[in-house]
Assembly symmetry: D3
């Protein structure tokens, strides 16, 4: 059976527990699902500066994962922090929660909308949407809630996401909603009931996409872009 | 456990057996995988005329599948014949082999190439590539081999695909290859060995993508585009 | 003189009469204009399921048209149902009402808007807009009126279209309007007067585009995509 | 009956005769077709500098046409020189030979190619292709022949176009060819016979498109972009 | 030291003074900055007809500039009137105020908005935005103010721009604003203070971009599109 | 006078000297130009793993630069490593060598080509090209030369770039060439002479673009995407 690891680019233990639970809820029977978090990084990834630190944390986690014999990885941060570098380092496939969520949405809805937070991270979602070429089917919206509200799952977060999603449904005829942040799994069932459309959590989507690649015995192409970084140093060599 | 059905738009029993085997090889343990084929359709889908008949055959198969309590469907024809209509009819999710193959390729390679056949079907692949927005990462090539060669798996088919794939790798720096026809599963291992890059069979990719959606308890949005076709007749009402 | 036939994918005699009248109103003097409708299909095409049946009905009509010596065809359903397959079957050119309307609009206005109905068919218009590459100049809007209102031409339909068109003019600076359904010809004059911008009926646009191709002695390329479907069965062989 | 005028942006009488003949060959019975040419402009339009002079010449011709009661205009220069300004000045519709040729090609072929000349004018064709959004279906190629060869219709021009077209058919699977210069009408029949695919002359295509708009009682939108240039001076006021 | 000339396509002396001042305010110490205006053209460029006359005026100015030994040119009209032809004629580089403003904005903001005037000129800005490929990051808005208000810099113009810019910031999350008309330099400081985001004047942006090219010893490529127009006549030869 | 700093994401002193010289050669008289390099990073940036380390090195350099009162920064690595994060941290503007080179090329040529190295970095250039929207005018090519050859400027590097550039000119009608690596400034004059088209070095282009922004008193928008990262840690806090 395969061993899948969920990588949390930030240092939050609570977030790590949340994404691990989200992955385990959808994994195949028999799959071992573990999670890790960055040792040296911010508590949340909300800026491009945070993304640099978060990406370095992802690399260190993949180095550890390779030592642990992990078969494949999920990057559990909206924006897919550090994904290309992780693909170079890992023997097995690596799937980002953002790309997987967008791909799942495209199988369920002609048009859909991402609701991310805070607004300044819209550019990071735009980056993934553009990379996949889905700009013609996907809009990106944001709510102004704090990470604390998200982590506690209190009412304001739910209402903020529900209200913004309703605006997407009405104004853009969106037919499905992608939750634009890790750790929002607890909102999924309530939002599905409230909105009546598919609501997608990227960690779950990425876990099943990763397992699908493993079942097909597929891993990252070594042909050019994501070939092994033979001459590159390790995180230990660079930062001690 | 869930029940997944692979829909073959054409009438070929051999092709149906092949795609069923491809799906079963990657399905989760415990999943029931069945297959069906069109009752009234051409033996192969190579023209837009064939696609019309094949789409009607897919509808009839979904009508039967709903009576059989099927949880989700794979459309096993390159070009994803009849996919939007199938989504309207089915309670559960429906995944096309083309869209799933392209999405898997995008997780493994920066640039990739579809090798389809015969050349006149390039437009059908273009349609799916454009629908997903992947034109900037994917080229579409074709080989001139007959369906008989494909069905028998004889040497010429393998060589034709390998040669065309090598041209894609060299001329376009493609890093992965999508096989652009159902029933080519037997070529996968040989081509992977010969080419040294990921080679993707859409039926396998679609089966795992479909199971991923089922694991997430997700199905087609009923919000607008693919809502139930309440006023539409059945195939029996139209064609007896 | 040439013989042009307007193909109505659905089974409505009233709609068939309406599109025939629209075509005759703009045809060249001396051209014979006839119309036909599907024998086995829904009464209206509003879902993707309907489109499958409608496309099959179009094929059967083209088979009859070829026996009748028809020189070219108009597909009179918004979304251009069955168009690629009709191109393969017909010796002469085939023009869809949607593509022709969009092309006419692009000659008259920098930006324009389609007003279609009901909303679930927006995806079908999106398909034609994307195929022609006009997404940067064209928006797609929809009104929630029933086909009955449309067929009777009662006030509510007119007002619904006029109101939605005014929103397009104001909010998107649209400079022309395409009516997104066959059988709306009777609304054209009133809407032109009310809106003060070009209002385009696709059946009229397609009829003149088709006659233009005939005047240039042009027909569908047989080079690859729309070559004759030599090995494909007829509707009679498939459905009896 | 309507009066259509073909506008030749350059000063060549021979070219004017050629485009007039091309238009008359496809016009509706009863339509009056006339032609005019620039009074102050270069003998051919091959540079952006030429285009400025040619556009001014088109304006002067439209001013004269309006005095003559012309109902609609064709701009007979590849690149559609002066088209937007002509639309502002003319009461009736104006169609460019480039846009009309591209639109006709899109009705006949999934992919097609323009063969223009000389190579430095590729950018002007690119401009029209991009304006119509057809970059995904159309390539632009050029031959290095002189205008003299074109005007005399000697063998080298025919062979140059035929050879370049064959390269487009082979290398890009083009299925139709657009002749990228006015005055090439005499090549059409020979190229169609030699290539076996639709070969489109833009002057003919524009003439029928223009007549189609007239038959639908449609003219340029006055809503915004191409509204009458109320405050603009005439060519006489500016240049005497 | 280099000699840079700002070309005003229209005939307004006041506008010419304004753009000259804007250029001088940002030019390198030691650079000679001069300006010229069209001799035969409209007083403002607000229509496509005006653009034709303005482009001819630009050509005449470049012809004079070449005689004066000018090293590089700025085209000081939003829409970059006559730019491609000017590139062919000038030995040195030519930069349009629109393209330079858009490029500067892209270095400062993920999304931005042009506020142009009057609304009918939106199409001209769209042309430059599309030519640069920035449609995914830039919206184009317009205010309905008269040129007189702009030239006098009275309150209404400032308020109109500020209000429209605030709508762009709020509704589209624009992060910077481009002023879509020459001669608005006096509004820059006030708008920056009022809006709190970068506000860009294209004449200033183009002047520094041009000086950058000169510092790198770069000029327009002569390879194909903008090669010298060897066979083209001069404005004197055409218009006397 | 302003103080501009060139940031070298890698640790090579020779490369740092080279980019400093390139910047100084084009800077305004009176501008202070300094350079720095990463303290903890690889010797070259050739993989996505290297990019993570390089981006972190850029952050540390900007932190130092802010303490030094630097007015603006150039990121001197093809791919613009760490650029968005640097924009958040710096008070003044930050320009990447890739984006600046592409923008300069677009002012000089209708179509152009980047020649980068090694091939696996094509994806990083693609990222910048797509971010600017220039895919329709720019191709990306690569040569297979080692960094050692580049740093020594030996014959093979020159020939490799010249040969690949000639292929771009011939096969794609490219009209200008962008050198896709920092430290290639010494090749510029020779390549310009050999190719006869503009050859652009991104460090020079970025330096002049940056000075242009400073002359206009413009800096990064603080409105949303690149607002100050108030809650983000410093490199010292994360890595000691």
């Amino acid at each position: 059976m395969s061993h899948v690891r969920v990588l949390n680019p930030n240092t939050s233990a609570a977030m790590t527990d949340a994404v691990l639970a989200a992955a385990r809820a959808v994994a195949r029977p028999g799959t071992t699902v573990t999670a890790s978090r960055s040792r040296r990084a911010p508590a949340t990834v909300e800026t491009h500066v945070d993304e640099v630190f978060g990406a370095a944390g992802v690399l260190e986690q993949v180095e550890q994962g390779e030592r642990d014999g992990v078969d494949g990885y999920v990057v559990a941060c909206f924006g897919d922090t550090g994904l290309p570098a992780a693909r170079e380092l890992a023997r097995g496939p690596v799937v980002g929660m953002t790309e997987a969520a967008l791909q799942a949405a495209s199988l369920l809805a002609h048009r859909f909308s991402v609701i991310t937070m805070p607004p300044r991270t819209i550019a990071m979602t735009d980056r993934v949407v553009a990379g996949l070429g889905l700009s013609h089917r996907c809009t990106v919206r944001a709510v102004d809630v704090s990470v604390e509200e998200i982590e506690t799952g209190a009412g304001p977060a739910f209402d903020a996401f529900a209200d913004e999603a309703r605006r997407a449904l009405a104004a853009e005829r969106a037919e499905a909603v992608v939750l634009g942040c890790a750790g929002l799994t607890d909102l999924v069932d309530g939002l599905r009931a409230a909105l009546g459309v598919p609501v997608i959590d990227g960690v779950a989507a990425a876990t099943t996409a990763l397992e699908g690649l493993l079942a097909q015995d597929l891993t990252t192409s070594r042909a050019n872009t994501w070939a092994e970084p033979a001459g590159s140093p390790t995180t230990g060599e660079v930062w001690g």
